[in-house]
Subunit: 316 residues, 2 copies
């Protein structure tokens, strides 16, 4: 697994009940009211909500097709510093991001890490999808480059084994891992023993590797069906991402479209998606939406996209 | 089960990963910084810590042999009101309390509930041990008397089935249950599906009732061995509780004894206990300690108490 590229000792490792708990604990431990957390635009709602609930001021930075632009991040950090604010951390999902499907390029990973070291903020690297690549693995985790204890890395068995076994892990600098462990104890004492034992056995017996091979093929077929259908049917001048792994495609319709208003008509056609606006902490794009290629068969995905495009053309 | 005396509908019920998570969620949802939480002296550290972490001011009230004195609670509430403080809740473990083993009497349950209604504070009734009675069940849960949505009831399968299956439940007024559910989702999305399914199957197949019958007998024998040994060997003028269920005996030594300082010598004699001081949010009694009769056989418990008493007599 990709995560094996990260050197870990026991003092850096904490198991959590899914990555959502890790996000909640990280936010509770690190954020003091008024701290700034930099987040991607768009970003995972459970992550931004955890930071918000802990009292962080969220500052969003628009992504490019290969992830956050380090120059834009540096400019935001400088601006916030001038306002006397403390930038505590950057929250990123570098691989096949939820909701956008975007992957952060190797060079940008290095640049963002260098910036974090220079400006002394932490990077919270949330990586639930990294193993779900279709052909080639994504670039090495930011954590694997981290010589200065600047990165907290989160990963999970939810998307690669099964979500019901609430088992995820955090790799953090030792002092932060110790605080996370105390916060975990206060939150629920410990996670399910049985879930952890089953996950460990699946790893030992090689079932996880088999499952990963199956899932990569499963999602590859479905993503290709979706991207092909979009190429064939999508209204002109709309834009979508071309993920190389994960579960999601991000689609930006024409600016006058409202993805939330469109949803009931889509559901009537037995198609559903998640409107994009809630994934933005600022500068929401109401004309964006998240498609998932995680469930239906490739032909049904293609049919669904065709029906959705017919609907879009009829309402525009 | 005792808990069946409480009328519950789905909108009142939430499953949590152990009662520790329920305590953490209740505290996070209800406490605003500066709110007062009334707690028993002594009380469960995980409960008082959750309230403290959420920003509560903790005010302790000494227990009597049959639990909190409603007159003392009323006096504290009046005093705090005069200081302009808001008393948000009372946290109580009414059955075979941790750490004291004390059970709140039936009449005091009624009086405390009436006081809560009159003074408009919530009661958080934490009941992990109620089913572990030796002979007769404890008085009905305060929640079973609650006609005014004043009580949040917590119980767990940890002590009555197995602690590794992280499955507990909260019964709360609908509006509070809804807030707890949202907080639970932010904290870890959901609990282990497998743990919940196993617990449900144990209940359906009657295994829980069998297990309870076994545990009641198991702990009854061990508690009696401990109480008999204390009657025989304990230094004069020391005082201990006589639990009718649960896992714990509370022992107050002579006031010049320091239970923390004594512990290393006890451990050398292969006896251990938990010093009492950390169980107090104020007015700590350093000469108190918590004994558990949860593990060793009755003869070994009796021998352990005898050795501990020899040690106490030799150091006093």
């Amino acid at each position: 697994m990709q995560a094996q590229a990260i050197t870990v000792s026991a003092e850096n490792l904490l198991l959590t009940s899914g990555s959502q708990q890790a996000l909640d604990l990280v936010a509770r431990v690190l954020i003091e009211p008024g701290d700034v957390a930099l987040v991607e635009l768009p970003s995972y709602i459970g992550g931004t909500a955890a930071l918000h609930n802990a009292g962080a001021e969220l500052v969003g930075i628009t992504m490019q097709e290969d992830g956050l632009d380090p120059a834009l991040v540096a400019a935001q950090v400088a601006r916030l510093r001038q306002l006397g604010k403390r930038v505590k951390l950057l929250y990123t999902i570098p691989n096949f991001q939820n909701p956008s499907g975007i992957t952060l390029s190797a060079i940008k990973r290095q640049q963002l890490l260098a910036l974090a070291v220079q400006e002394n903020f932490l990077i919270v690297e949330d990586d639930p999808y990294g193993e779900l690549y279709f052909d080639a693995p994504p670039p090495p985790a930011i954590k694997s480059l981290d010589c200065h204890d600047q990165v907290i890395y989160l990963a999970s068995f939810s998307k690669i084994l099964t979500p019901g076994l609430r088992t995820a892990w955090v790799i953090a600098p030792a002092l932060i891992a110790e605080r996370l462990e105390r916060a975990k104890e206060a939150a629920d004492l410990c996670s399910s023993m049985l879930d952890q034992a089953i996950v460990a056995e699946c790893c030992h017996q090689g079932l996880l590797e088999k499952r990963l091979a199956y899932l990569r093929d499963f999602y590859r077929q479905r993503c290709h069906a979706m991207l092909n259908a979009l190429s064939t049917y999508a209204p002109a001048d709309t834009w979508w991402t071309k993920p190389t792994g994960g579960l999601f495609v991000w689609w930006e319709l024409l600016p006058h479209c409202d993805a939330t208003a469109l949803l009931p008509a889509a559901v009537e056609q037995k198609i559903t998606y998640v409107p994009g606006a809630p994934f933005f902490v600022t500068d929401a794009k109401p004309y964006s939406l998240r498609l998932a290629f995680s469930k239906e068969s490739p032909p049904r995905i293609a049919e669904g996209i065709a029906r959705l495009c017919t609907l879009l053309n009829s309402t525009s």
